[in-house]
């Protein structure tokens, strides 16, 4: 903890917490927040000595004087910024959050979907059972800090056996004129037999002010339920994003996460943790990261097989340009009880510049004997042969490169179940290939 004190943010957080603690209105929530804060004080911000933060020196993103409350909350985002999140020709329900705060919206949502601010939800007993699960708080660092001091966010619940007819598109806009530290908190509960499709898009302007977002989302997928969860991170310069998603799956449930990290943000660090808390679950984690300039994109994931007969499948693909750095760490834990587990993991990277870096580490820890598990990681460049083939048909170098990068990403993009979104992602990829910059 000694080192923490030297950064201005740490003092700000201490003061912020004692202020919010004094004004707490709900006892149980206050207990949860205190536990979170104690945990944070013990663990502090991660350093490079933490195995999970070995390649991401977070301290260099925490040096600024950040404000943890105040101005940022009150701002509204420009219509222009919100429109950047629009997926062309996609028909979806839309929600907008600015700096984590839910904006007024029309009430055309089906009755079986409940949408309220997280602050209202967590004081309800039936919600609280799902909130701040042990593992989340215990993991310390950013998750504990978020629990201690989160302010805004969403609670979304879909009733048993209901199915959403079109995707729910949640636009997370971040904007600020001064350095801020924002801590949104969200909770999705997909009840038994229900089916939910969500697209979350993160947008920001190129910002001179530093915007640090420490976001935490909990996801509960109940028995026989299914959740397609798309996360599209398109924040720009000035934004530092630490984004944790904790998923708990019940029997016969299906959870599919699609994470797309696009260029520009200073830092993206995703922690995606999936706990398979019952038998016969199915989990898909698809990721695509595109790094540019000096960007650092770090994807950590953990799939924890605790029961027999569960399937998990993970494919992450990275394309790194310029001086960008990518980090992939994929943990798959298989408990001794989790017989008949199928766990498949793959991470492929394309380095399009000599100065780009990738650190990739599959980490399988398997304690059951009757399982099928595999993993693989590759790092490569564009095939010269393929480039020549395309060029020999009249396709210019840039267009050829864009075609091949799209093709590289295909294993992931083809998994997108919303055609408009797939098209949009392919368009974004082509936009960022060298020479195609707009």
């Amino acid at each position: 903890m000694t080192k923490q004190i030297t950064i201005p943010l740490y003092t700000e957080l201490l003061e912020g917490f004692s202020h919010s603690d004094e004004n707490a209105t709900d006892d149980t929530l206050q207990k949860i927040r205190r536990a979170g804060f104690e945990n944070f004080k013990k663990s502090g911000f991660p350093t490079r000595r933490d195995e999970d933060w070995k390649y991401t020196t977070i301290s260099s993103f925490l040096q600024e004087q950040y404000h943890i409350n105040g101005i940022a909350k009150e701002l509204t985002a420009s219509a222009e910024l919100i429109s950047e999140a629009i997926v062309p020709s996609l028909d979806a329900y839309q929600l907008v959050l600015v700096n984590g705060k839910l904006q007024p919206h029309n009430n055309n949502f089906p009755g079986f979907i409940k949408i309220i601010p997280i602050s209202e939800a967590v004081i309800q007993d039936d919600v609280r059972q799902h909130f701040a699960g042990n593992s989340t708080v215990a993991s310390g660092h950013f998750a504990a800090l978020n629990t201690a001091l989160f302010s805004n966010g969403l609670f979304i619940e879909i009733s048993a056996n209901a199915a959403i007819d079109k995707p729910l598109h949640i636009v997370h806009a971040f904007t600020s004129a001064t350095n801020v530290f924002i801590q949104p908190r969200h909770l999705f509960v997909v009840h038994q037999g229900a089916e939910l499709n969500v697209i979350e898009t993160i947008v920001s302007e190129n910002s001179l002010a530093k915007i640090f977002v420490n976001s935490l989302t909990e996801v509960i997928v109940e028995e026989n339920a299914s959740f397609n969860h798309y996360v599209l991170q398109t924040a720009k310069t000035g934004v530092r994003l630490v984004n944790q998603t904790d998923v708990k799956q019940k029997r016969h449930s299906v959870y599919s996460n699609y994470t797309f990290c696009m260029p520009k943000a200073d830092l993206i660090r995703n922690n995606l943790n999936v706990a398979l808390n019952a038998e016969q679950t199915e989990t898909h984690l698809y990721g695509l990261y595109l790094g540019e300039d000096q960007q650092l994109i770090d994807n950590h994931s953990l799939i924890h097989h605790k029961f027999p007969h569960c399937n998990s499948n993970e494919i992450y693909k990275g394309v790194l340009l310029d001086k960008a750095t990518g980090v992939f760490n994929g943990k798959v834990f298989v408990n001794p009880e989790a017989q008949k587990t199928n766990a498949f993991q793959q991470n492929n990277n394309l380095l399009l510049s000599n100065n780009a870096t990738i650190n990739t580490k599959p980490q399988l820890e398997i304690f059951a004997d009757d399982v099928k598990c595999s993993h693989g990681a590759t790092v490569g460049q564009l095939s010269k042969e393929a480039m020549f083939y395309l060029q020999s048909r009249g396709i210019g170098e840039e267009a050829a490169r864009a075609l091949l990068v799209n093709a590289f990403a295909f294993d992931v993009t083809e998994k997108i179940k919303i055609p408009e979104l797939e098209q949009y992602i392919n368009h974004l990829i082509a936009l960022h290939i060298p020479g195609n910059k707009n």
């Binding site: 042969e385 393929a386 020549f388 083939y389 060029q391 009249g394 396709i395 170098e397 295909f410 294993d411």
Partner: protein, 253 residues
């Protein structure tokens, strides 16, 4: 149309082409034959602009333009098409998307209007028919999982779509079954015109029964050591290459 003068080229440290001279006029079909490793594919590669070949000496002129100065894509846009001996697989790039991109880039270069989706589809259907190319293959990833023969037929389908003026077919007949050989040859014959020309690289006289060449050349050790008419191919079929190699060796180099 095409004039090659004293073309010398090497790959890595090995000189492969050792002074090729060849003139191809519009409307003509030339066959190039020769033993394995003699440099036939290398010649095609140099014409198409593969960058691991270094041209040491010589000129290649395509209708008054210096081909060797151009990028591979500009050569294609100027009308050079090479059907690869070993077409590669490119998973994730759809055949049809690839062709639309290629055709529209070529048209843009030639200052022709872009084809819209409907026009492109119409053209694609028409050319599929012309070369009897399976519609199912059109929508798959480029050559991915195609059989050897299907890959070769895809090369010819691409040729039909892009309408080049100089077509170099590198052993397109190898790997085709008897019916496919006839179909592909018919396609090529339909595509022949007074404005385009074909160079057929082949080991087999059989192809030349379907697509009758105006000239037959023998490439050996990086040089054209004999040229003749279609009867030369028959003679080679009968006698092999040894008699030519011997007479060639006797010549002072």
């Amino acid at each position: 149309m095409l004039t090659i003068k004293n073309l010398n080229a090497r790959v890595e440290d090995k000189q492969i082409l050792k002074g090729i001279n060849l003139k191809v006029n519009a409307g003509e079909v030339h066959a190039i034959m020769g033993p394995n490793g003699s440099g036939k594919s290398s010649l095609a590669s140099v014409l198409a602009g593969r960058d691991n070949y270094e041209v040491l000496e010589g000129e290649v002129d395509l209708d008054g333009k210096d081909l060797l100065e151009m990028s591979p894509e500009d050569r294609a846009r100027e009308g050079v098409f090479m059907a690869f001996q070993y077409p590669i697989e490119i998973p994730g790039v759809s055949n049809i998307n690839f062709l639309r991109t290629a055709l529209n880039e070529i048209r843009a270069y030639r200052k022709l209007p872009q084809l819209d989706a409907k026009q492109f589809l119409k053209l694609s259907k028409e050319r599929q028919k012309l070369v009897e190319f399976d519609a199912k293959l059109v929508n798959r990833s480029l050559n991915e999982g195609f059989s050897g023969g299907e890959k070769k037929r895809n090369e010819i389908f691409q040729l039909a779509m892009l309408e080049p003026k100089l077509c170099v077919l590198d052993e397109t007949d190898s790997g085709l079954d008897i019916d496919a050989l006839r179909i592909v040859s018919n396609g090529v014959n339909k595509l022949r015109s007074k404005d385009n020309a074909f160079i057929l690289i082949t080991h087999y006289q059989r192809l030349l029964e379907y697509i009758v060449p105006d000239f037959v050349h023998v490439l050996y050790d990086g040089r054209i050591i004999k040229s003749g008419t279609k009867e030369l191919a028959l003679e080679l079929e009968e006698k092999g290459y040894d008699w030519l190699k011997e007479s060639f060796r006797e010549q002072p180099v």
